[in-house]
Symmetry: C2
Subunit: 157 residues, 2 copies
């Protein structure tokens, strides 16, 4: 499947050239950041293997690779919370992908929030184990039990 993409050339070719030549890590993955096309919020950070990347490009819908389940998954496959990709960007050394998405249905996070990033880390003090996270934009956008059923929601899509 990695044959789908161009071979990696020199650093200059990878950074300044027009060829899509992703650098998959030892596990065959690139990092993918999905932001909300409407407001720029980061919705989630996940991974894509070559097949997930190819399917995302071809379909315009977000596909990922779950490291915990060791499986390819189309976001929203079971939940209906699909992500339509409005733009895909790749970074300088081509080991990270940024997709802007229209998130169908209320949320991207398996906990029921719109974004996975619903807690802020207070700044300005050395963390000492008593650091207290602040919940922000943390209201539940949907009921994960209703959407994902009784299965472990962290294994849900």
């Amino acid at each position: 499947m990695t044959d789908t993409f161009s071979e990696r050339g020199s650093a200059h070719e990878v950074e300044e050239g027009p060829a899509l030549a992703p650098r998959f890590d030892a596990d065959g993955l690139v990092t993918c950041v999905a932001t909300d096309a409407a407001n720029g919020d980061v919705l989630m950070v996940a991974h894509m293997n070559a097949e997930a990347l190819a399917r995302t490009i071809e379909s315009g819908q977000a596909w990922y690779y779950s490291r915990s389940r060791r499986a390819l998954w189309r976001k929203g496959e079971s939940s209906g919370h699909v992500q339509r990709v409005t733009e895909m960007r790749i970074d300088c050394d081509q080991d990270a992908v940024w997709i802007k998405v229209e998130q169908a249905r209320p949320g991207a996070c398996h906990t029921g929030r719109r974004s996975c990033f619903y807690r802020a880390v207070p700044l300005g003090k050395a963390p000492d184990g008593s650091q207290v996270l602040e919940f922000r934009d943390a209201e539940k956008a949907f009921d994960p039990q209703a959407v994902y059923g009784k299965a472990d929601p962290s294994k849900s899509t």
Copy 2:
């Protein structure tokens, strides 16, 4: 240094609790996405080890861990292109961090661009190796040779 943070409890505690208990991977890293506080653009994706995360929290300036150089680095250390963190968020399972930053000086990318994500991947066709990336927002914001000198700029900060 990982002692700095809380121990990880149950999935429920990690996801719904107020304790900062990052999940560092086998290499001791979490993924960090830096977005432009002004417009939400993703500037870069990098990694933090426990010390980089702790220093970022304490100082309010972005510190990272370079996998290629195997070294802690303060963003802008040599270039002056520091990142002041206006907000830090952590995701549901606490293995990814999102920082909103004010990027000092013109750019975050060692190639001279404001963002590392200066190329778009066209959607809607199966990638076949002839995929042509489209340069977007790709004008150079600074001269990397002037800022980083003749050293390999991919090794620069």
